[in-house]
C-alpha cells in the first residue's frame, strides 16, 4: 500500500536518514496517536506510547525487511507500545479515569447514550482485545491484514476479534439493562 515515494523514504530511513524518518513520522504520528488514544483511552498515556513507538521505530528500522510493510509495522509497534504502557501502569488502573474534555461530536449514528455504552464496554475489554477492535474497525484492516500487523496467526486474529466483540456485546447489553429502570439513564 505504500507509495513508491514512501518506499524510498522508508529505505532511506532504514539506512539512517533522519530527515526521511521524520517525514515518515510526521505523516504517521497523528494516526498513531489516534490509535493509541482509542486503545488507551487516555491522551497522556497515548503520548507516551507514541513516543515509545517512534523511537523504537527509528532504532529498529534496519530490521524492517519489507519497506512496503512500514505502516503495518508501525501499527504493530504502537499497539505493542500501548500494551506495554498498560502493563507498566496496571497498578494504577483503578485510579486512571478518562476525563473527556472534548465535547462529543453530533453524530447521526451514535447518540450520547450509545457512546457511553460503548465507552464503558470498551473499557472492560482486555488491552489486546481493544487493539484488534481498533485495528479492525478504526483502521479498517481486514483480518489477514490484522493478522500480519500484529504478527499473530490468522486464526488467533479471528478468535481474538470474535471474543472481543462478544465481550463488547455482553458489556453493552449488561450496561443497557438498567435502562429498564425509568430514572436510571440519561444522567
Amino acid at each position: 500500500m505504500e507509495t513508491p515515494v514512501q518506499r524510498e523514504l522508508v529505505e532511506a530511513a532504514r539506512d539512517g536518514d533522519h530527515e526521511a524518518f521524520e517525514v515518515l513520522a510526521c505523516g504517521a504520528v497523528d494516526r498513531l496517536y489516534a490509535i493509541a488514544r482509542l486503545i488507551l483511552r487516555d491522551a497522556d498515556l497515548a503520548q507516551d506510547a507514541v513516543q515509545e513507538t517512534l523511537v523504537h521505530a527509528w532504532r529498529s528500522l534496519p530490521g524492517l525487511r519489507d519497506p512496503d510493510r512500514f505502516d503495518a509495522w508501525l501499527h504493530r509497534l504502537v499497539v505493542n507500545a500501548c500494551l506495554d504502557v498498560i502493563r507498566s501502569r496496571k497498578h494504577l488502573k483503578a485510579n486512571v479515569h478518562l476525563i473527556e474534555i472534548d465535547l462529543p461530536h453530533a453524530d447521526d449514528t451514535t447518540d450520547v447514550a450509545d457512546r457511553d455504552q460503548l465507552e464503558r464496554g470498551f473499557r472492560r475489554l482486555r488491552p489486546e482485545q481493544r487493539a484488534v477492535v481498533v485495528l479492525r474497525y478504526y483502521l479498517g484492516l481486514s483480518l489477514p491484514e490484522l493478522s500480519r500487523t500484529l504478527q499473530i496467526p490468522l486464526g488467533t486474529a479471528k478468535s481474538r476479534l470474535h471474543y472481543a466483540m462478544e465481550a463488547l456485546r455482553a458489556a453493552v447489553e449488561a450496561d443497557a439493562r438498567p435502562a429498564a429502570h425509568p430514572a436510571g439513564r440519561l444522567a
Binding site: 497522556d44 513516543q51 497498578h91 485510579n95 472534548d102 477492535v133 481498533v134
Partner: protein, 694 residues
C-alpha cells in the same frame, strides 16, 4: 454467557463500534513532543544487528549508562540491574565543600509512609517501587524510566522534560549526558559563553555551573542563576538546576504553578542555598472527600498530585496563613503548589481531595539541616578572628555572592573588595566612582547593584570580571536609602531622604520611578516578604509600608503597636514574619499575614546600628551596635528565637563595634566585618559559629 435480552446482531454492533470509533475527536499529536522525539532519534543509533545489540547490552551492564571516558556509575548500574524497571526521582543537591557527594536510595511506596533522607549533600536518588510508580510526580527535577535491557531513554508524561537526560554524580560533581542539546553555563560566565553539549556527549558540571535544555524557551523568570525554564502555555513546567558552591544546588519542577507560588519556591530555594538540606518525601493515598494529614509547619514544600485527581482545595485553618486564600487555590492532576514558610506553629493547612477518586499525593519537603551550623548543639557562639579587610569601613555592605565569596563595598571608601571564606582573606575588586555608602543588592545574574549614597550614577559589580562599572543615573539622588531585590529580579530602591522610590531593571540596566511612600525615609530598611510584597520600615517613622510590585504602589500598614525607629534592621523570619529592631523603639515582630505586631521579650542588650542575620535554624543573630543604654559600642552577640519570641546572649565579639556588616556564609558561619570600634572604622573581621538550639 447468559443473555437476558435480545442479542445485538454482530453487524449492528460492528456498525456501532465503527461509528463510535470514527466519531472520536481527532487530536493532533503535540508538535513540541514530536520535536522532542526527533531530538532523540537524531542522536540515537539504530540497532542494526543482534550482535551489536548484545554487545551494547553487555557493555551497558558492565559500565553503566553514564560511562564515558572510563567514568563509572556503579551505583546506578547496580540499582538498575537489581531493580529493573523503576522510576528514579532525582534531586540534585550540590556537594558541600570538601565533602563527597552522598547517595541515598529510599523507597517510598506505602500510603502514609514517609521517608527521611537526611543530609543530602550530594546527588540524591529516590527510588520508587515499580509496583507503585506514580503517573506524575512533581516537585522533583525529573523522573526517569529505566529499562533493564535497553537504553535509559525516558519519555515521560507529566513532568519529564521532553528531552530528558541522564546525570550521574562523580566525586561531588555531576555528569550529564543529554538526550538533546544542552547548554552548560559555567560558573562566572554568561549565556553568551555557554557551552553546547550535544546529545550523546557527556559534560561534567561543577559548583557554580548551571545547565539548561535548549528547546524549552526561557520565560521572563528564567535566570542564569538558577537555570530555570518553562515550557510555553498553561502547562508550564519549570526545571531549575544549578550547582552552587557549598551545596547551593537547587532543582525543581512543577506544572501549572501560579506565579507567586513559583516565586516563593524560587525564593525558598535561594534561602536554602549554602545550607545542607534534609529532604523528606511522603506519600498519601487520599480517598475522595478526605483530608490530607495536616501540613504542620512552614517547611518549603512541594506537593505533587498523581493523575486521576480532579481537584483539591487548600484551606488555611487560621488567619495566619498569608497568601493562601481560603477556597481559591485549587490544583488538579499534575499540578503542584508550594506552601510558603508562612505558617506559624500550630497552624495547619487543610488539603482536601475534592475529586471523585483517590488522590495520590506526594510531598517533598526541603529543610535546612540544623547540623550545618558549625558549632554543636548546646554551645553558644564560637567567635574567631578572620583575616582583616583591606580597607577600614563602617556602615558598609557585605553581600554574599553566588560563588560563596562576599563583596564588601562602601563604608567610607571607594575601593571594593571581595572576601573569600576559604582563605579568610580579601582581595581588591575595583573601585567605585566615588566614596559612597551605596546599597549593594545581589542581582539574579550574580552581579551586584551599587546604588545611591552620592550624586554619581549607580554602578554594577561583576564578579566575573571582578570590577565595578558605572551604569545609568538613578531617577533621584539618594542618601541613606534602602534597596531590595524583588521576586522578578528587579530592584526596589526606596527613600534616602525622600519619599520617592524607583525600580532598577537589570535587563535594561536603567532606573524608572515607581509609586511613592507616604513619608520621607532615611536610614530605613526594606525586606522582601514571602507574598512578593516588600516591607519598608523605619527611617524615623512608625509607619510600615507594603510595596506591591504588580501595582507599583505603597500601602501603609494599619497595625497597632509599631514605634518609630531608625538605624535598625528588618529581618524576615522563616515563618514569614519580620523582626524589627532599631533606635528609639522596642523590638517588634510584624506579621504581614495579619498586619499585626507582636512584642517579643526584652533584648539582653538593646541596640541599634547593629547587624542582624537569619541563621540556618531560623533564629536571628544580632551582633554589635550601639547599646541604647550606654550609647557605647557593644561586642554583645545575642540570638532571637522566633518560636519563643525571646532574646538570649550567646557570646561577644572580639571587638566592640557599631555599624558592622554581618553576612551568613555558605557553611553557616556568620562573617562580621568592619564597623566603628572606638572612634574610627576598623578593618577587623570576625567569624561567628552559633550552636544549635539546646
Amino acid at each position: 454467557m447468559s443473555k437476558m435480552g435480545p442479542t445485538i446482531p454482530l453487524e449492528v454492533l460492528e456498525g456501532r463500534v465503527a461509528a463510535w470509533l470514527e466519531s472520536e475527536p481527532g487530536v493532533e499529536f503535540p508538535d513540541w513532543l514530536l520535536t522532542s522525539v526527533f531530538e532523540v532519534t537524531r542522536h540515537e543509533p539504530q540497532q542494526r544487528r543482534l550482535g551489536q545489540r548484545l554487545a551494547r547490552l553487555a557493555g551497558w551492564l558492565a559500565r553503566g549508562p553514564g560511562t564515558a571516558g572510563g567514568r563509572r556509575t556503579d551505583r546506578l548500574s547496580a540499582l538498575r540491574v537489581v531493580t529493573g524497571a523503576v522510576f528514579v526521582v532525582a534531586i540534585g543537591i550540590g556537594a558541600m565543600l570538601g565533602i563527597r557527594a552522598s547517595f541515598r536510595s529510599t523507597p517510598v511506596t506505602a500510603p502514609g509512609t514517609q521517608a527521611d533522607v537526611a543530609q543530602a549533600t550530594g546527588l540524591l536518588e529516590v527510588t520508587l517501587d515499580a509496583d507503585a510508580i506514580p503517573e506524575d510526580l512533581a516537585g522533583v527535577l525529573f523522573f526517569r524510566k529505566v529499562y533493564p535491557t535497553d537504553h535509559d531513554v525516558a519519555y515521560g508524561r507529566g513532568f519529564v522534560p521532553p528531552n530528558t537526560f541522564a546525570r550521574y554524580v562523580e566525586s561531588g560533581e555531576l555528569a550529564i549526558r543529554p538526550r538533546s542539546e544542552v547548554q552548560v553555563i559555567r560558573a562566572g560566565t554568561t549565556w553568551a559563553e555557554a557551552e553546547t553539549v550535544e546529545a550523546g556527549e557527556e559534560a561534567v558540571v561543577g559548583p557554580g555551573d548551571a545547565f539548561v535544555m535548549q528547546d524549552i524557551p526561557f520565560d521572563a523568570y528564567g535566570s542564569e542563576a538558577l537555570g530555570t525554564m518553562t515550557t510555553p502555555g498553561d502547562d508550564a513546567r519549570v526545571v531549575g538546576f544549578a550547582i552552587r558552591e557549598s551545596s547551593r544546588c537547587c532543582s525543581m519542577t512543577h506544572a501549572g504553578m501560579q506565579s507567586p507560588w513559583y516565586h516563593t519556591l524560587l525564593q525558598g530555594v535561594q534561602e536554602l542555598r549554602g545550607t545542607p538540606v534534609s529532604l523528606r518525601i511522603a506519600r498519601w493515598d487520599v480517598p475522595a472527600g478526605a483530608d490530607l494529614p495536616p501540613v504542620d509547619d512552614g517547611a518549603l514544600t512541594l506537593r505533587a498530585v498523581d493523575a486521576g485527581i480532579i481537584s483539591g482545595v487548600i484551606t488555611p485553618a487560621g488567619p495566619a496563613a498569608t497568601g493562601v486564600e481560603p477556597g481559591t487555590l485549587t490544583f488538579g492532576a499534575g499540578s503542584a503548589i508550594a506552601l510558603p514558610r508562612i505558617l506559624k506553629d500550630g497552624d495547619t493547612v487543610r488539603l482536601l481531595n475534592a475529586g471523585p477518586d483517590t488522590a495520590v499525593v506526594y510531598q517533598l519537603t526541603v529543610e535546612p539541616d540544623p547540623s550545618a551550623v558549625t558549632a554543636p548543639a548546646g554551645t553558644l557562639a564560637t567567635v574567631s578572628e578572620s583575616g582583616p579587610m583591606l580597607s577600614a569601613r563602617s556602615g558598609h555592605s557585605a553581600t554574599l555572592l553566588d560563588d560563596g565569596r562576599v563583596l564588601i563595598s562602601g563604608g567610607g571608601c571607594a575601593e571594593v573588595e571581595v572576601y573569600d571564606p576559604e582563605t579568610g582573606t580579601s582581595e581588591p575588586a575595583g573601585e567605585m566612582s566615588s566614596i559612597r555608602n551605596a546599597t549593594a543588592t545581589l542581582l539574579e545574574d550574580g552581579r551586584v547593584l551599587l546604588a545611591g549614597g552620592s550624586e554619581d550614577p549607580a554602578e554594577l559589580f561583576d564578579p566575573r570580571s571582578g570590577s565595578v562599572a558605572p551604569i545609568g543615573p538613578m531617577v533621584e539622588e539618594r542618601h541613606f536609602l534602602s534597596a531590595v531585590r524583588l521576586y522578578d529580579g528587579r530592584v526596589l530602591v526606596t527613600g534616602g531622604e525622600t519619599d520617592t522610590a524607583e525600580i532598577f531593571d537589570p535587563d535594561t540596566e536603567a532606573f524608572a520611578p515607581t509609586g511613592s511612600m507616604s513619608t520621607s525615609r532615611a536610614r530605613h530598611t526594606s525586606v522582601l516578604l514571602w507574598d512578593t510584597r516588600v516591607l519598608v520600615a523605619g527611617g524615623g517613622t512608625p509607619v510600615v509600608e507594603l510595596y506591591d510590585a504588580d501595582t507599583g504602589r505603597f500601602t501603609p500598614s494599619e497595625a497597632d503597636g509599631l514605634q518609630a525607629f531608625d538605624r535598625g534592621t528588618a529581618t524576615r523570619l522563616a515563618d514569614g514574619r519580620v523582626l524589627l529592631i532599631g533606635h528609639g523603639a522596642s523590638p517588634a515582630v510584624y506579621d504581614p499575614a495579619t498586619d499585626s505586631v507582636a512584642t517579643p521579650g526584652p533584648m539582653v542588650t538593646p541596640r541599634y546600628d547593629h547587624a542582624a542575620v537569619l541563621l540556618n535554624d531560623g533564629r536571628v543573630l544580632l551582633v554589635g551596635g550601639l547599646a541604647s543604654e550606654t550609647l557605647a559600642a557593644t561586642a554583645s552577640i545575642e540570638v532571637f528565637d522566633p518560636r519563643m519570641l525571646t532574646f538570649e546572649e550567646v557570646g561577644s565579639l572580639g571587638m566592640a563595634r557599631w555599624q558592622p556588616a554581618a553576612t551568613r556564609l555558605c557553611d553557616g558561619r556568620v562573617l562580621v566585618t568592619g564597623g566603628t570600634g572606638g572612634t574610627a572604622p576598623t578593618v577587623s573581621a570576625e567569624l561567628i559559629a552559633v550552636g544549635t538550639i539546646r
